[in-house]
C-alpha cells in the first residue's frame, strides 16, 4: 500500500523567523517565512526542524512540529510548540530574523471525506495546533473543539478559535477552567452523536480512550499520532506504530490515521 504523498515534493530550506512569541507557559508561536513549504502545506502535516547550530552535531536529529496555521498569501506557516526538552528549549531562544533549517511539509495530513460536514475536534494539551490548521483550512465545514489541558494557564489560542467562530468546550484537570476532569469525559458527556467525524490529537492515553468511545458510537475518527522519529521522510522505519495493516510509519503513512485502524493497546 503506497501512499499518494510518497511522490509529493519535499523542500529543505533556511526559513526566516518572522516571530517567535511566548503565548503561554513555556509555549511559543513561531512564524516562519518558508514559501515553498507553505505553498505545499496541508493541515495535519508537519515540518522537521533542526534546533541546534548547523555546525554542532548535538542535538543531531530534527524535531517534528505540526503546522498550526497556513498563510498561503504571505508564504508563512505558524508553528506552536512547548518546551519539553533541550531541542524545544533551543527553539525558544531563537530571535526574529534568525534562520532555521527546516524541511517539509511531511505526512498525509487530515484528508476529510466529503460527507463529513460536522466535525468534532478533540485536543489534548499541545496536540491542539494541528487541529487549528484543519479548522482554518475548511471554512465550509462545521466544527466544535473539545479542548483539554492541565489548567487554565495552559489553554492557548482561545482568541484564534474565537476568530474562526468555532465553539470551544474546555476541560481542565484541576477545574480552573471549564469542566473539571478529562476532555474525553467531557466529550462523552456533551458531544452526543450528531456529528460525522472526530479529528483528534493529544497524548496517547487520551486518543486510546477516545477511540474506545468512537467505536462504541460507531463513529469514524482521524487521529494524529506522535512517535520518536529519525529521518522524518519514511526511509528509516524508526517511527512505526501498530495498525491493523501491520507496522506503519507515523511520519509518512501518518501522522493521521483512521482511529479504527490503530492498535491502541500496545
Amino acid at each position: 500500500m503506497r501512499a499518494q504523498q510518497d511522490h509529493e515534493r519535499l523542500y529543505q530550506t533556511m526559513a526566516i523567523i518572522v516571530a517567535n512569541i511566548p503565548i503561554g507557559p513555556g509555549t511559543y508561536r513561531l512564524t516562519l517565512l518558508a514559501p515553498e513549504i507553505t505553498a505545499a502545506a496541508r493541515p495535519g502535516q508537519f515540518v522537521e526542524i533542526l534546533p541546534g547550530a548547523k555546525a554542532a552535531m548535538d542535538p543531531l536529529l530534527r524535531r517534528p512540529i505540526s503546522i498550526c496555521a497556513i498563510d498561503k498569501e504571505n508564504g508563512r506557516i505558524d508553528l506552536v510548540y512547548r518546551e519539553v526538552g533541550r531541542g524545544t528549549r533551543m527553539l525558544g531562544e531563537k530571535q526574529t530574523g534568525e534562520k532555521l533549517d527546516v524541511f517539509g511539509p511531511v505526512g498525509n495530513g487530515f484528508v476529510l471525506p466529503d460527507e463529513a460536514r460536522k466535525i468534532l475536534l478533540v485536543a489534548g494539551g499541545i496536540g491542539m495546533p494541528p487541529l487549528y490548521a484543519l479548522a482554518q483550512s475548511h471554512p465550509e465545514r462545521e466544527f466544535v473543539l473539545y479542548y483539554g489541558a492541565r489548567n487554565q494557564q495552559e489553554l492557548i489560542m482561545l482568541e484564534d478559535w474565537a476568530l474562526l467562530k468555532i465553539p470551544v468546550k474546555i476541560a481542565t484537570d484541576d477545574g480552573s477552567s471549564g469542566f473539571k476532569g478529562r476532555v474525553t469525559d467531557l466529550f462523552l458527556k456533551e458531544a452526543g452523536t450528531a456529528y460525522h467525524l472526530c479529528c483528534a490529537c493529544g497524548p496517547r492515553p487520551m486518543l486510546t480512550a477516545l477511540a474506545g468511545i468512537l467505536q462504541q458510537q460507531g463513529k469514524k475518527g482521524l487521529f494524529s499520532l506522535e512517535a520518536r522519529m529519525a529521518c522524518g521522510v519514511g526511509a528509516c522505519l524508526g517511527c512505526v506504530c501498530s495498525t491493523k495493516h501491520g507496522y506503519q510509519r507515523v511520519c509518512v503513512d501518518g501522522p493521521v490515521f483512521p482511529a479504527e485502524e490503530v492498535i491502541w493497546d500496545e
Binding site: D58, A235, V240
Partner: protein, 313 residues
C-alpha cells in the same frame, strides 16, 4: 554534474561520485528523491533484506544520543522475493548503481538470498553480518572469524555479483574479521556497522528502545570508524567502503585518507537531507585546492609510517 575527478571504481562497481547512501537509512531511494534528483550520490545500498518477510522490532525503535542515535529497527522488510517484485523495478530505475544489503539467520539463508538477487539488476551485495546465528546459540556472525568466513563463502558461491562484507565494530580484533572475509573472496568491505548501545528513560526507569539495545550511529562513532578503517586498510588488499558518522566533506575526506575507497553516509542524511550535495562539492573543492588529479589519490594518503602503540590513558 558528472566530474571525472570524482569517479571511483569500488569492487568492480563504477560510481560517479564516491558517495554511497548507507543501508537502512535511505529506504529504496524513493523517499529522498522527493527532495530532488539524486545526482550527487554514487550508489545506494537498499534497506536490509531477509529471506522471508520480517516485521522488525516493536517501537520505540529510535532515540537520540549525544551526537548520535540508537536504532533497533530489526530489519523490517518485505523479504527478498517481494522486494524483487514490488521494489526492485523502481529501485533499479533511479539512474545509479543500487546494492542489496542482506541478512540471514543461518549461513544457508545468506546463500539463498544471494542466489535470488542474481540477474535482478542489483549492482552488488552488501552482506550484513551483525545478526545472531540462530544455529549457533545466537552468537553474532560478525564477531567470529569462522562464522564470518562461512557466510562469505556461502554468498560467494551463489553469486557472480560483487560481494561486500559489512563489518561489525563490536569486536576485539576487527582485522581478523576483515581478513576472514578477504580470505573467502569478498570483493570489498563495508565498515563500520553500528556500535551496540542503549539508553534509559529516567522517568519510566526502563530502556527507551523496546528492544533494550540498539545500534549507535552518527558523528559520535566517527573516531572508532576511522580507527578501524585505518587498521584494516593496512591488513587487506580489497577496497573499503567507509562509513560511521560522516556529516560533511571534511569527514568524508578523513575516511578516504584513512583508507576508504568510497564513503557511505547514513545518519548524517537525517540531520541534513541535502548532505550529498554539500559533501560532493566539498570534496571537489578540496581536490582542486590541494592539486589532486582525482579523488582516488586521497585513498589511504594519511598512511605514511608505523602506527602508534602504547596505551591511550
Amino acid at each position: 554534474m558528472n566530474n571525472p575527478k570524482l569517479q571511483v571504481d569500488f569492487a568492480g562497481i563504477s560510481l560517479r561520485t564516491p558517495l554511497v547512501a548507507a543501508s537502512g537509512t535511505f529506504g529504496f531511494g524513493r523517499e529522498y528523491s522527493r527532495f530532488g534528483p539524486l545526482d550527487d550520490w554514487g550508489a545506494i545500498v537498499g534497506k536490509g533484506l531477509t529471506l522471508r518477510p520480517s516485521q522488525g522490532n516493536p517501537p520505540p525503535r529510535v532515540t537520540e544520543t549525544p551526537a548520535g542515535m540508537l536504532n533497533s529497527i530489526g530489519l523490517q522488510n518485505p523479504g527478498v522475493e517481494a522486494f524483487l517484485r514490488d521494489e526492485m523495478p523502481d529501485f533499479a530505475s533511479l539512474g545509479l548503481p543500487v546494492l542489496a544489503n542482506i541478512s540471514g539467520h543461518t549461513v544457508e539463508e545468506y546463500g539463498e538470498i544471494a542466489a535470488k538477487l542474481e540477474g535482478s539488476g542489483i549492482a552488488g551485495i552488501e552482506v550484513n553480518v551483525s545478526c545472531p546465528n540462530v544455529k549457533a546459540g545466537g552468537i553474532v556472525f560478525g564477531t567470529d572469524p569462522k562464522a564470518l568466513a562461512a557466510v562469505t563463502r556461502a554468498v560467494r558461491r551463489r553469486t557472480g555479483l560483487p560481494v561486500i562484507v559489512k563489518l561489525s565494530p563490536n569486536v576485539t580484533d576487527v582485522v581478523a574479521l576483515a581478513q576472514a572475509a578477504e580470505g573467502e573472496g569478498a570483493d570489498g568491505l563495508s565498515m563500520i556497522n553500528t556500535l551496540l548501545g542503549m539508553a534509559i528513560d529516567i522517568h519510566t526507569r526502563r530502556p527507551i528502545l523496546a528492544n533494550t539495545f540498539g545500534g549507535l550511529s552518527g558523528p559520535a562513532i566517527k573516531p572508532v570508524a576511522l580507527r578501524m578503517i585505518w587498521q584494516v586498510y593496512r591488513a587487506v588488499k580489497i577496497p573499503i567502503l567507509g562509513m560511521g558518522g560522516i556529516t560533511c566533506a571534511a569527514d568524508a575526506i578523513e575516511f578516504l585518507l584513512a583508507g576508504a575507497s568510497a564513503v557511505a553516509v547514513g545518519t548524517g542524511i537525517f540531520h541534513n537531507p541535502g548532505i550529498a550535495k554539500e559533501i560532493r562539492e566539498g570534496i571537489q573543492q578540496y581536490i582542486v585546492e590541494k592539486g589532486f588529479a582525482s579523488v582516488t589519490q586521497l585513498v589511504g594518503a594519511a598512511h605514511q609510517d608505523g602506527e602508534g602503540k602504547g596505551c591511550g590513558g
